[in-house]
């Protein structure tokens, strides 16, 4: 696809009033908002995207400036490419600390009201958090949709796997997923016959292969059932070799870098090992790619530096009449003016923290009272060791393979499932490797010259980090709320998060630790895992210590269901209370199983977009082109 000048209009707010009627106002340019904008625009609808961030990376130069900013930071935390913008702030893990009982920490953007401190992040930038994500794209398991029926835990979804199956295919096309169907047919996951992913799977890393050599074919036993182990590749939203068989033999054309000028990079992943926080060549999907197509239609306008601040409702009908929006002129100054934005349909796509935050700040708690409740995020438990041989760690994409056989099973009656990532980037997430290794070898090890160089090879190239992504079930007390005492520079209330890691998850974590020890023993790997009591994610379960990391997979806060009393949105993500308002994104998910949430939220976005088009048809909204 040639990506030439886009007609992305940075709308002049002054003329907004006169610019004609929009069929839909979409708050947020992340993947959820982008897919809906594109689907509506392709169907001839007029759309305005309201985005809080600046539009820096619309140009390749802007995108590259993120990269230079990243190179130049001594502390490469995972938000380091993205400069501070206090008018549209975002969480940064570097600002966290452990809380005392009942303490509230309001120094970070997300007010942490505890007891557990979450280091989860999202990115308020043009294109949203996918600029930053790792792009693992597994589907949920069919059993994940029926947790209550099958295992007596969590909630059932109002829809099933097969209801989403075709939308999963659309999402895999949009994101450009690389995987092989034969590797992904495990547990109860099914594919329509003759389906292939857009691109062939990425090869397993040399490190994955060394792990596989020792554990493939071995088993573990859990609650009397045996589970075979195998290292499997993950489906990934990054460009690999297109599959000629895709789309009935039509093949697939990968989408590379998006910019206002044609730039010929990103058609294929190069192994930059930097997928998080930013892919230098844009081989990894980000929502800017979908937005580019949407802007190409000429029917999508963009209003950036525009922070939606209040959803205004007609109290008689419950319908939304407008969105009060604060426009700031300069990220360095809180100066702003406020306008009212109107359209036929309204779509909040701010993510599972920002969307309920905006609703609650507008006084809209949902008749179910569940707005902001049921916050879920995967709990990560890290385990790290040194392999007996050199494995060439620090090469490839962040993660190519893992162990997924325990994503499902009868044990879910008792404890959480997990999916295990084999990290190609070593112990970095746990210890700050490899820089921390060099510092330690030089300062404490008194090494220099050849001794040092050899010691670095021995220490870094053998690193193995297993990241266990553990399921978290919905619980009403885990939630996002707002409080007028905590506002940002524009006077918008900031999100307040209260979170406890449920026991069900901690039982899964305890087993995860035991499982890691078993795997390390089978590998002959030296276990270096230790959890520091001063760590902000430190928890104990039955006397055993763990440090839990946030998963960045925020969900559940405007739950989807079958009725108004027990859910916020219906199966099309439309609010029960407001019939022209959709809340889209992972916030609608009743449970998250062990699937990184984005593929599923993207699939749901296709489903909702179809419904919006039907609703607009019924309303006879004027279609302007």
């Amino acid at each position: 696809m040639s990506i030439l000048d886009r007609r992305a209009i940075m709308v002049d707010p002054g003329v907004l009033k006169n610019s004609g009627h929009y069929d839909a106002i979409i708050v947020g340019s992340g993947v959820a908002g982008a897919i809906i904008a594109n689907e509506l625009a392709q169907a001839g609808k007029r759309v305005l995207i309201v985005e809080a961030a600046t539009e820096t990376d619309r140009s390749f130069k802007g995108y590259s400036s993120y990269l230079q900013h990243f190179y130049g930071q001594a502390d490469k935390d995972n938000q380091s490419p993205f400069p501070v913008n206090r008018n549209a702030d975002m969480p940064r893990s570097g600002q966290l600390r452990k809380l005392d009982p009942l303490e509230i920490n309001s120094t970070s953007y997300i007010v942490q009201s505890g007891p557990y401190v979450t280091d989860t992040v999202y990115t308020r930038a043009f294109g949203g958090t996918t600029i930053h994500w790792e792009a693992k794209t597994p589907r949920m398991l069919p059993q994940d949709f029926q947790m209550q029926t099958l295992f007596g835990q969590g909630k059932d979804w109002p829809i099933r796997y097969h209801d989403l199956e075709v939308d999963y295919e659309l999402a895999e096309r949009e994101i450009g997923v690389s995987a092989n169907v034969e590797d992904q047919q495990y547990l109860d996951i099914t594919f329509r016959s003759s389906y292939v992913y857009p691109m062939h799977g990425l090869p397993l890393s040399y490190l994955d292969q060394r792990v596989a050599a020792q554990i493939d074919g071995s088993e573990v036993e859990l609650y009397g059932e045996r589970y075979p182990l195998r290292v499997r590749p993950f489906p990934q939203g990054r460009n690999a070799i297109p599959n000629q068989k895709y789309d009935g033999g039509k093949g697939y054309q990968p989408v590379g870098a998006v910019a206002s000028h044609q730039i010929d990079v990103g058609g294929r992943c190069q192994g930059n090992t930097n997928c998080v926080p930013i892919c230098p060549v844009q081989a990894k999907y980000h929502a800017g790619k979908t937005l580019a197509k949407a802007f190409d239609t000429g029917r999508v306008d963009l209003l950036s530096q525009a922070v939606a601040s209040r959803v205004v409702i007609d109290s008689a009908s419950g319908r939304v009449t407008g969105i009060e929006t604060k426009l700031y002129h300069d990220p360095a100054s809180p100066d702003h003016h406020t306008i009212m934005i109107t359209g036929t349909l309204y779509v909040l796509a701010g993510n599972a923290i920002e969307t309920p935050r905006l609703m609650l700040a507008s006084g809209l708690r949902s008749s179910s009272g569940l707005m902001g409740c049921n916050l879920m995020d995967h709990a990560y438990l890290l385990n790290w060791a040194l392999m007996p041989q050199i494995c060439g760690t620090m090469r490839g994409t962040t993660c190519t393979g893992g162990i997924v056989e325990l994503r499902g099973g009868a044990f879910r009656r008792h404890q959480a499932t997990f999916s295990v990532d084999i990290h190609n980037d070593g112990w970095g997430w746990a210890t700050g490797s490899p820089a921390s290794d060099v510092v330690e070898l030089v300062d404490a090890g008194n090494k220099f010259g050849a001794d040092l160089r050899q010691a670095i090879i021995d220490r870094v190239s053998r690193q193995l980090l297993l990241a266990f992504m553990i399921e978290v079930l919905p619980s009403e007390s885990n939630r996002v709320s707002v409080n007028p005492s905590y506002t940002d520079l524009l006077g918008n209330m900031r999100p307040v998060v209260s979170f406890t890691v449920p026991d069900y998850t901690l039982r899964g974590a305890a087993y995860a630790r035991q499982f890691a020890k078993t795997v390390f023993a089978r590998l002959g790997a030296e276990d270096h895992t230790k959890y520091d009591p001063s760590d902000y994610g430190f928890v104990t379960y039955e006397g055993e210590p763990f440090a839990i990391r946030g998963g960045n997979h925020l969900a559940g806060t405007h739950v989807m269901g079958t009725d108004k009393a027990t859910s916020v949105v219906d199966t099309n993500q439309r609010c029960w209370d407001h019939d022209n308002l959709y809340l889209v994104g992972a916030g609608s998910m009743p449970t998250i199983g062990t699937a990184n949430v984005t593929l599923t939220l993207a699939a749901m976005a296709f489903r909702s977009a179809r419904n919006m088009i039907m609703q607009l048809g019924r309303l006879h909204a004027p279609v302007q082109t």
């Binding site: 190179y71 890393s205 690999a240 994409t397 820089a435 160089r453």
Partner: protein
């Protein structure tokens, strides 16, 4: 020491303490920048003291040089932390702040702190070539390269 001799000695010292060749050290394009960084933090007089201490032992055998470096440079209360900061700078591309105790005794070094002297510093860190990898976010090794054993250079 003349300006050019100073730079050559700095390169020779850097090569010695990183176990990379002088050619590889020059190849980073950062030698002058790093010498300026050291000068900027600890002052030219102390940098000279470091370079002179190294200069005095260059004609000795490799084994003797290592022993002497331990005694007179890395084991020196004043020069040791500076030498270690230089090693870290070459490997990682970050100047790590000198220890507080050093600052109290030999400071103030006003420009000290933990910083990346230039975005290239990160990209040219010697760590990555030492382990047959590449700095995350730059100098990618190509699609699929990760499936093969690493090419760790001999030295």
């Amino acid at each position: 020491m003349s300006v050019s001799r100073r730079l050559e000695t700095f390169v020779a010292f850097s090569a010695e303490v990183t176990a990379f060749t002088p050619t590889e050290v020059w190849g980073t394009g950062l030698t002058q920048r790093y010498l300026d960084t050291v000068d900027g933090v600890v002052g030219t007089a102390m940098t000279d003291a470091l370079l002179n201490a190294f200069d005095r032992i260059t004609t000795q055998s490799a084994g003797e040089r290592t022993a002497k470096l331990r005694q007179t440079v890395f084991g020196c209360e004043q020069l040791g932390p500076v030498a270690r900061a230089v090693v870290k700078l070459w490997y990682i591309g970050t100047w790590y702040a000198l220890p507080a105790a050093w600052q109290e005794r030999f400071g103030p070094a006003a420009q000290d702190g933990t910083f990346v002297p230039t975005p290239d510093a990160y990209v040219e860190g010697l760590l990555w070539s030492a382990i047959g990898a590449h700095p995350p976010g730059a100098k990618a090794q190509g699609f699929g390269s990760w499936q093969f054993p690493p090419g760790i250079p001999k030295f």
